[in-house]
């Protein structure tokens, strides 16, 4: 019973387990609901999905599994809804695509395949409406941008920049914001990061120090002398800098995993993004980088030297991007990247660089060597072992 449904969910990479399936069957047995597809949808979601960021995925899987039961032809439905001929729709659709997007569609298996996906997405939206809940865009995987379908055409999100090794990137790109909710195959990463959780006793005294009290009481000849000690808590403070865009896109996946792993481990943790090399500005969110950048200098002033700094980047770039003023591929920088990096390494006690490039390839890239020496040799590969070593260094 429901095994096919369960397998469909697994196919959509939902993290459901057999235990939850049994719960669902148990709920059905106890007649929590009765022969009502909407209610079943809510019940299954309540029992099987434990994270609202996975609702979207669940909806897709649900629509996929039940498509045989509730089939609807999207194009004809659209035709009815908007009174427009199918050809017009297709043409309008193609007209809105840039050459790059067309290439991307080819990669996805052509327009028909895309229409199929659109259809699926559309069904899902129907499903949502039937349930009375709101359309939530969770971003990241959708080729349809945030809005999905609108009558004027389909907005296709630009997923990856197509150029590598940019000489001058003048075109404004919207990079994907790193999503903290990637699949946690990063469990292992978490374990590695656990090593960072050094316990320190700081703050007000709040806990009874039993041993201290006993020995002090004994010394006083039996008069009670209560001793308190500060509570233990995780005092590790971390700043993370992510390289984003350009040649790093191959490694974004790995970075995202690290990102989501790091999210739950520390009390003080801030993320910043940079492009290729660190200059006078970093930014907090990816999309708003043009409008909201932060002075690197103010960053240095704001955070104390006891913060641990982790860079994540492949350090693969033109050498002039590091050591020449104006070397940035995106803007004119007064001071060279290396001087900014020096400012960081001088201010903070502990700085490491994690590099997703395999360690044996490092010697082939001149810029990696430069970066490594700037980091005082504290560069490690982005592997479990490398993170372990880096954290030991911190």
């Amino acid at each position: 019973m429901l095994i096919e449904f369960f397998l469909t969910l697994r196919k959509y990479r939902l993290k459901t387990s057999i235990r939850e399936l049994l719960d669902l069957i148990n709920a059905l047995k106890n007649q929590a609901i009765f022969a009502d597809i909407d209610a079943f949808y809510f019940l299954a979601r309540t029992v099987l999905v434990k994270d609202e960021t996975q609702y979207d995925r669940f909806d897709k899987a649900f629509a996929d599994y039940f498509s045989g039961i509730q089939d609807l032809d999207v194009l004809s439905a659209l035709k009815q809804a908007y009174q427009i001929p199918e050809d017009w729709l297709r043409k309008e659709f193609e007209k809105n695509l840039s050459p790059e997007e067309k290439a991307q569609i080819e990669a996805m298996g052509g327009l028909d395949k895309l229409m199929e996906t659109l259809k699926k997405r559309f069904e899902e939206q129907k499903e949502r409406h039937a349930g009375g809940s709101k359309w939530i865009g969770t971003g990241g995987t959708s080729p349809f941008g945030s809005g999905g379908y609108n009558p004027e055409g389909v907005r296709i999100g630009e997923d990856q920049p197509r150029q590598r090794k940019a000489v001058k990137v003048w075109q404004q790109r919207q990079y994907k914001n790193l999503d903290a909710n990637t699949e946690i195959s990063s469990r292992t990463m978490k374990l590695a990061l656990k090593k960072l959780r050094r316990f320190a006793r700081t703050g007000a005294s709040e806990k009874l120090d039993l041993n201290g009290t006993i020995s002090a009481t004994a010394k006083q000849g039996g008069m009670l002398d209560v001793h308190m000690e500060p509570e233990r808590h995780n005092a590790v403070k971390v700043l993370m800098f992510f390289d984003i865009g350009g040649s790093m896109d191959d490694y974004i996946k790995t970075c995202e995993e690290l990102f989501s792993a790091a999210h739950s481990e520390f009390k003080h943790l801030s993320f910043f993004y940079f492009h290729n090399c660190l200059y006078e500005h970093v930014w907090e969110g990816n999309i708003r980088r043009r409008s909201e950048s932060i002075d690197t200098m103010s960053l240095i002033n704001r955070f104390g030297r006891d913060y641990k700094v982790i860079f994540v980047g492949d350090a693969t770039m033109g050498p002039y991007e590091i050591d020449a003023p104006g070397g940035s591929v995106e803007h004119w920088n007064q001071e060279s990247g290396s001087s900014w990096l020096n400012k960081i390494t001088n201010h903070f006690d502990n700085v490491v660089w994690l590099n997703p490039q395999p360690e044996e390839h490092w010697s082939y890239h001149y810029s990696i060597g430069m970066m490594k020496s700037l980091m005082k040799d504290k560069m490690y590969p982005l592997t479990l072992d490398g993170i372990g070593r880096a954290i030991k260094e911190l």
Binding site: D23, T46, K50, G131, K134, G222, H233, S260, S264
Partner: protein, 279 residues
């Protein structure tokens, strides 16, 4: 018995079903959602509608799982021994029951609210796995095994500040409270302010949803802020026209303090209003 919302609380179909399933299968129900969408209210209203006791366990960053079970008050025992009190020979006198024990002990099936579980240390949910699953625990000091008389209805809320471990999530049912749309919002407001003038309500809702659409707000106003704001609007007897008049007080809506809790947000709004006036 099915939870149908109360006269003070409007629950969506999916929420009702989630609560129903959790009660039927005796599983903890984990509730997430934007702050102010009524997560904590749910437990209170559920207890009211069932006519049972609500036991609230508010979690802070220093809360330990053990504190929910019981605590051994070593300090008062030590003091009693200094004073030569007879009580001191029975250790059971110094075991203080925690919230979970209280809920295990109740005669009528109670509602146990574990509020804001994400505030605690990351190990906290893991420490409660067995207790939530089997509804029993062991008191080390007295060698006693405590088993729940009947399984309490457990409502857990989280604000998503920390990820919860998978093993913990597997044991819970989960529901995410969506932000209500305009119709639902109207229902909610009618429940709380039955005498509000219709046009004031419509205008206020328009202003409110416009405000939520603004990009870059640090903290979007939520349902509870809207309710507070309406209360003030009624108390001050403000006319709908005043709400519509954008030129008022540098473009800020009246009594904005109830909606915006952040000075950056207020100045952002002022800037936007200024720009729209120049246009």
């Amino acid at each position: 018995m099915k939870f149908e919302g109360t006269k003070n609380y409007v629950a969506s179909e999916s929420l009702k079903l989630a609560v129903h399933a959790a009660m039927l299968l005796e599983k903890p129900l984990l509730i997430k959602g934007e702050p102010g969408t009524g997560k904590t209210m749910l437990a209170q209203e559920l207890a009211d509608s069932l006519g049972t006791e609500l036991i609230q366990w508010h979690i802070k960053s220093t809360t330990k799982a053990q504190q929910g079970l019981y605590e051994y008050d070593a300090v008062s025992r030590l003091r009693d021994s200094q004073l030569g009190d007879e009580k001191v020979h029975d250790i059971a006198n110094y075991i203080v029951k925690g919230k979970m024990w209280q809920s295990f002990d109740a005669d009528v099936r109670p509602v146990l609210l574990i509020d804001e579980i994400d505030k605690a240390d990351i190990e906290f949910p893991n420490d409660l796995l067995l207790e939530l699953d089997k509804m029993e625990f062991h008191v080390y000091e007295t060698q006693e095994r405590i088993v729940a008389k009947q399984r309490p209805i457990v409502i857990i809320t989280s604000n998503n500040e920390k990820e919860l471990p998978d093993a913990f999530l597997r044991r819970c049912f989960f529901h995410y409270i969506d932000f209500p749309n305009k119709d639902e919002m109207q229902q909610i407001i009618e429940v709380h302010h039955p005498h509000i003038k219709q046009d004031l309500l419509t205008t206020a809702l328009e202003v409110f949803f416009q405000l939520r659409e603004l990009p870059h707000l640090k903290k979007k106003p939520s349902t509870s802020e809207l309710l507070d704001w309406l209360k003030l609007l009624i108390a001050e007897d403000i006319e709908p026209e005043v709400l519509r008049d954008k030129s008022n007080k540098g473009g800020l809506v009246p009594l904005f303090g109830a909606l915006l809790k952040n000075e950056q947000d207020v100045s952002l709004l002022q800037k936007l209003a200024f720009m729209s006036k120049r246009r």
